[in-house]
C-alpha cells in the first residue's frame, strides 16, 4: 500500500541494466509490474518490506 502510494505520486524516471525488455520505466509501469506479480514487481515489494523493517527497528 505504502509503495503504491509512493509510486502513484512519483515523477521519477527509472532505468535498468537488463538485456531483455524495456530499459526505461515510469512509476506507473512499475505499479503495473507489481499488479502483475512479475519478478520486477516482486523485487520492488521485497525492497519495500526491507525498508519498512528498518523503519520499525528505528522506532
Amino acid at each position: 500500500m505504502r509503495l503504491r502510494q509512493l509510486l502513484s505520486r512519483s515523477s521519477a524516471i527509472y532505468a535498468r541494466l537488463s538485456d531483455t525488455g524495456a530499459e526505461v520505466y515510469t512509476p506507473q509501469q512499475i505499479l503495473e509490474e507489481i499488479e502483475r506479480g512479475s519478478p520486477i514487481g516482486r523485487q520492488w515489494i521485497e525492497a519495500e518490506k526491507s525498508i519498512i523493517r528498518k523503519l520499525l527497528m528505528l522506532r
Partner: protein, 252 residues
Amino acid sequence: MPRMNTAVLILPDQHYLGYGSCVMRRIADQFRGRLNIIELNGWDAVPDKINAAIRQNDPAFVFGVGHGNVNIYTVECRTPYMTVCSDTARMMAGRVIHLNSCLTAQQLGRDLIAKGATTYYGNYEEFWLIIGCNWRIYPPCSNKLVTTVFDAEYTVEKSLFSGRTTGQAQQDRLKAYDDEINYWTSGPGANQPCAADAVRVLEIDKRIAVMYGSDSARITAAAPSMLALLAGLAAAIGLGIGIAVGSTAPTG
C-alpha cells in the same frame, strides 16, 4: 599472472549506460597517477577492442557496465561480449572482475569463478538507476539523483584502487549503499523531489550486490612499509660499509 596495479574499464555509453560510465570515468581520473588504467569508452567498448586491451595489458582488474542477463554480459549498443562457458569467460581467469549488469550473478558470475577468476562482484537481480525526476530526463553525472546508485556500487573500485582487499571492498560497497540511503532519508537530499524513489532504488541495488570468490585478494601491489624501507636502507648501508672495509683491509 595478471599485472597488479593495472585495470581495464569497459565504459559503453549507449542505452543509458553513460550514467554509470560517467561516474566510473571520474573515479578513474582520481587514481590514474597511481594505477595503469585503460578506459574503453563508447565505441571502443566492443568485443575485439576489449579482448585486445586485456591481452595487451593483462590486468589484475576488469570492470564492465552493460546490459545483462543470467548468462550474458553485453557492451556498447548491447553487443554480446561474455557468456557462460565462453572463451571470453576463460580470459578472466586470475583476475578480479566487477560486472555492473543485471542478473549476471545468477550464472555468469559463478561461471567466471569456476573458470578461475579470483573474485567476482555483480548484481543478482535487476539493477536499477534513476535517470530523471519531475518527468524530465537528466544528463549523466548532472546531479546526485542520477549518480547515487553508482556512487555506492563503484565504491568497489575506490576501495580496490586504494589497496583494500576484495572482502573489504565488498564491505565498503554495502556501507556506501547505507550512506547513500541516509543521504536521501536524513541527509541533504531528504527534502528533494524523488528522494523516496532514490531510497527504493538504492535498497533494491544493495540487496542484489553480491561478491563471489576470494575475499583476501588485492589488485594493487603492496607498497613497502616505512619499517621495511628503513630495514632495507640499514642493510644497504651495512653492506656498503662491509665492502668498504673489505676493500681497504690489509691482506696477507
